[in-house]
């Protein structure tokens, strides 16, 4: 792996920031996914902006610049895709999302509907039923003692609450996680991960497309509420289908990886587990800190709508810019002792859910699930122990584990 080297500036890449660091390192390689942290460190330290020659893209890994790009949607747009593919030049693999892959004003109209469906008011009403399910999940695991922290907990709990909250039918839910895995792999380059995911896509896409239709959703739930916006004349029924698709794409795998991240942290950092046990009300922040620490969503792209200045360099119009969210969340310029998982940390401002107009619209549901499952663990479980080698799951965008053998008592 080659890390960024200072290289004589070439035309079009010259700014008052001096020579732009250039590297042929592959941010979508398995080798990198196995242990991204040393490379993150090198990327942050090479400069505020760098150029990744393998894909002809720019990159930012420091908190300040990642935040700058996230907040400036006028310059760094989403409508040309938030993956490597530039929708101005390539046909997207699926019809673009009405929120993730759009800019204002179009974006705002759709976003407003999802914000309302997933607002603090709505999410409050879910607490009781989500809590009961979290208690049941942990009680059942306590009886078993040994289990897989990913499949039996991080996946099982969101799968026990979220599809019902959306109003999905009982059949075919096994397609949800593969579909999300596919969508997040598709943001990457045409590598083996992306190609294989797309090769196996047909049944998952068919299920999701069918489930998003009004007649296939329960009369109450997030899905029905999105479709109700059609009656109010806010969107068309075709748009409602795409908005429900957003819930299914972004609402489960992300939360699974968030809960998995926090669990993996708590199983590794004994003092933090003890702190959580003595103060279970820290569960919500323990989840949030897990998001900062592991950054389940590692990267997203933007595309420049005009020449843009970043860190003293100029990026030409029409360039892809890769934001290393996971690196920003461990930038020592922003965070004290960033490599420590600390459930008492003030986590406000981390970019694990993004920032700005595209910040995760389902973050309140994710936090509710994260808080409730960790709180149930903290109150009911004395000890938590990893019993075997954790196995990593590889995805072009998501970071998480495939399995985490563990034991609780």
């Amino acid at each position: 792996m080659t890390v960024p080297q200072e290289q004589p500036a070439t035309e079009g890449r010259r700014g008052n920031g001096g020579a732009l660091p250039v590297s042929d390192f592959d941010p979508f390689s398995i080798e990198f996914f196995k242990d991204p942290f040393p490379i993150h460190e090198e990327l942050r330290e090479c400069g505020p902006l760098f150029y990744l020659s393998r894909y002809g893209i720019y990159g930012v890994a420091r908190y300040e610049q990642v935040h700058q790009v996230l907040m400036d949607w006028q310059t760094f747009c989403s409508s040309r895709g938030v993956g490597l593919a530039d929708f101005a030049k390539e046909k997207p693999w699926r019809p673009p999302s009405l929120v993730l892959e759009k800019d204002p004003p179009e974006h705002d109209r759709a976003r407003k509907i999802l914000s309302k469906v997933l607002s603090p008011v709505t999410v409050k009403k879910l607490r009781e039923s989500f809590e009961a399910s979290a208690e049941r999940t942990v009680d059942a695991l306590l009886v078993r003692g040994r289990f897989d922290g990913i499949g039996d907990l991080a996946e099982a709990y969101p799968m026990s609450v979220f599809p019902d909250a959306v109003g999905l039918g009982a059949e075919g839910r096994e397609h949800l996680l593969p579909y999300a895995g596919l969508a997040f792999n598709a943001f990457g380059p045409p590598n083996e991960l992306r190609d294989q995911a797309i090769a196996k896509a047909t049944p998952h896409v068919a299920y999701v497309t069918e489930q998003c239709r009004r007649e296939n959703l329960a009369g109450a739930g997030f899905g029905a509420e999105v479709h109700a916006a059609v009656d109010a004349g806010q969107i068309t029924s075709e748009e409602a289908v795409l908005l429900v698709r957003s819930l299914l794409t972004a609402g489960i795998d992300t939360t699974v990886n968030g809960i998995g991240a926090a669990l993996y942290c708590l199983a590794r950092f004994d003092d933090q587990w003890e702190a959580l046990r003595s103060e279970p009300q820290l569960a919500r922040n323990a989840f949030e800190e897990g998001i900062r620490f592991e950054s389940p969503v590692q990267t997203f792209f933007r595309t420049t709508t005009r020449a843009a200045e970043v860190g003293g360099h100029v990026i030409p119009e029409g360039s892809k810019v890769l934001m290393f969210l996971g690196a920003a969340n461990r930038d020592g310029r922003k965070w004290e002792r960033p490599e420590h998982y600390d459930i008492r940390r003030v986590t406000s401002g981390h970019v694990g859910f993004g920032a700005g107009i595209h910040m995760c619209v389902g973050q309140l549901v994710a936090r509710l699930e994260g808080e409730l499952i960790l709180s149930a663990l903290a109150r009911k479980v004395k000890r938590i122990r990893i019993t075997g080698e954790p196995v990593r799951a590889f995805n072009n965008t998501l970071r998480g584990l495939r399995s985490l053998p563990m034991e609780i008592e």
Partner: protein, 103 residues
């Protein structure tokens, strides 16, 4: 300029602030416990709820108004979101009352 945070138990902390910061940003960077700011100031989470009675404040935006419906502690006519109140020079001495809970 300075603003004063008043805790639910009545204790006060006066903090020196830089003009242009939001109340939420001041609170999270000064270890004020009563404000969480989970969404980092993007007007999404309603966990930087505060009470302010001061005629110098600008009125609520539609977005802030909607989010205030979802606060953990009851909304009153003095309810604001700390991330939406930018501390302009004319707000020197502002008194910000903290709720007992944000989640």
């Amino acid at each position: 300029m300075r603003i004063i945070f008043v805790s639910p138990d009545g204790s006060e902390r006066s903090i020196s602030v830089r003009e242009g910061m939001s109340i939420m940003a001041v609170a999270t960077s000064n270890g004020i416990d009563g404000i969480v700011g989970e969404c980092g100031g993007n007007a999404m989470c309603a966990t930087c709820h505060v009470y302010i009675s001061d005629e110098r404040l600008k009125s609520l935006s539609e977005e802030e108004d909607e989010l205030l419906e979802g606060t953990a502690e009851g909304r009153t006519s003095e309810s604001r979101l700390g991330c939406q109140v930018k501390l302009t020079g004319d707000l020197d001495g502002l008194r910000v009352r903290l709720p007992a809970r944000q989640v």
